[in-house]
Symmetry: C2
Subunit: 244 residues, 2 copies
């Protein structure tokens, strides 16, 4: 079974929701047969790359509240994070464009290191004094995740590298009806929106598992003989040997 | 779109079929949106690990032909390989149990190096004077593919490492109706058996693409509100802030 998680490093509910999902997954009987893939969704794609703003100030402005109220709102999110054992700084965090981070996550996926980099960028952004909107720090995180420094640098410096992969994820999110993240899609059949409690994810996994489609007879490509009739095939009894 | 290829390193039509598939894929307009995954299928799972036999002698015995006839049959396969630009030794090749190779391929998949290792093991088995049924040589191939030597050694020495992944692939092959390899499955909807000509693969890709399901509305997990109603979500307009 395949779970796709659309998320953004700038999204606190993605950070908290990932921990809750993993807790639900840990309690799921068939967890060994679940593959998890992260997909890209930018919260703030129109902000110029490299331009950052302080989170509390941005919240105050957006919701018309005082800085103190914004910090209180952040504190409530921090309490939710703490309940999952996650650190969360309520002050001094940056907010910015995450396109380069998503490109780097797609590169990490090709090396089997996507989950490592997701974890490190979440931790850096929410729990540590490290901006993820700074290329040099992002490169440090890439290396920490196990990626090659030179290759990662090339990806970061080439704005077209893995750009199409990010855009394709974002198009799919729209097609699947996501208008916010985290957005969890199970086997392209079930959708769960938001950083729901662990037991919700466990239930979602169980429901998707119970209703998984039984293997159907595969369709044959037009004009081809039935797969069972194919030549140029090897089986337990040996290989078809061409007569010419 | 996702193409899964069930194959075995001991299967000549898998070796030739991979080259033909890749040629068909290269001519497919949406090739950048195709993900290829290799899946395990053992041709000779009952042969004890480490016990090998010469291919031509085995063919002669199996089909009741002379060694000379067996070599001629191998030569016809070699001609098919040559037409794809692939080397193929008609004499002196070993045949044996491929379980350890499949386990190692699953390990390589976790590092994003599965395709590299598939290519190297095919080449070693069919084109070079290198047995893939020898642990030391297999380890050399793993390192050549870019895998860590120590980690690969641990995988090779632990017969349970990635064993369940191999078994799961084989169960799925049976469920999908494969009784020989190579077996190509496109998006779990179309099946193509055998090392078919490149144009057949191109056509299969085009047909699977043209008939790909449009994104449906995802189902909601029982008892959950509609994904659109979820709290604990971040969108372009900001994040839901808990009131408690």
């Amino acid at each position: 079974m395949r779970v796709e998680i659309w998320s953004d490093v700038a999204c606190p509910w993605c950070y908290i929701g990932k921990a809750r999902f993993e807790q639900g997954l840990a309690e799921f009987a068939h967890k060994d047969q679940v593959e998890v893939v992260f997909r890209s969704f930018e919260l703030d794609p129109n902000r110029p790359e490299g331009e950052t703003t302080q989170v509390t100030g941005m919240l105050a402005k957006k919701y018309g509240m005082s800085e103190a109220q914004a910090r209180q709102a952040e504190q409530r999110v921090a309490d939710n994070a703490a309940a999952e054992g996650l650190g969360y700084r309520t002050e001094g965090r940056d907010h910015g464009n995450t396109f380069a981070i998503h490109r780097l996550l797609h590169f990490a996926k090709t090396k089997g290191l996507q989950n490592e980099l997701v974890n490190l960028t979440f931790r850096a952004n929410f729990a540590e004094e490290r901006s993820v909107f700074d290329r040099a720090r992002l490169l440090e995180l890439a290396v920490e995740a196990g990626l090659d420094a030179e290759e990662s640098k090339q990806v970061l410096e080439d704005p077209t590298a893995f750009a199409e992969e990010v855009r394709a994820d974002e198009r799919e999110a729209t097609e699947l009806g996501a208008n916010g993240v985290p957005f969890f899609v199970l086997d392209r059949r079930y959708g769960v929106s938001g950083g729901q409690p662990a037991e919700v994810f466990k239930q979602a996994l169980e429901e998707a598992w119970a209703t998984r489609p039984q293997p159907a007879k595969l369709a044959t490509v037009s004009g081809l003989p039935d797969p069972g009739q194919a030549e140029e095939v090897c089986g337990p009894e040996g290989c078809a040997v061409p007569q010419r």
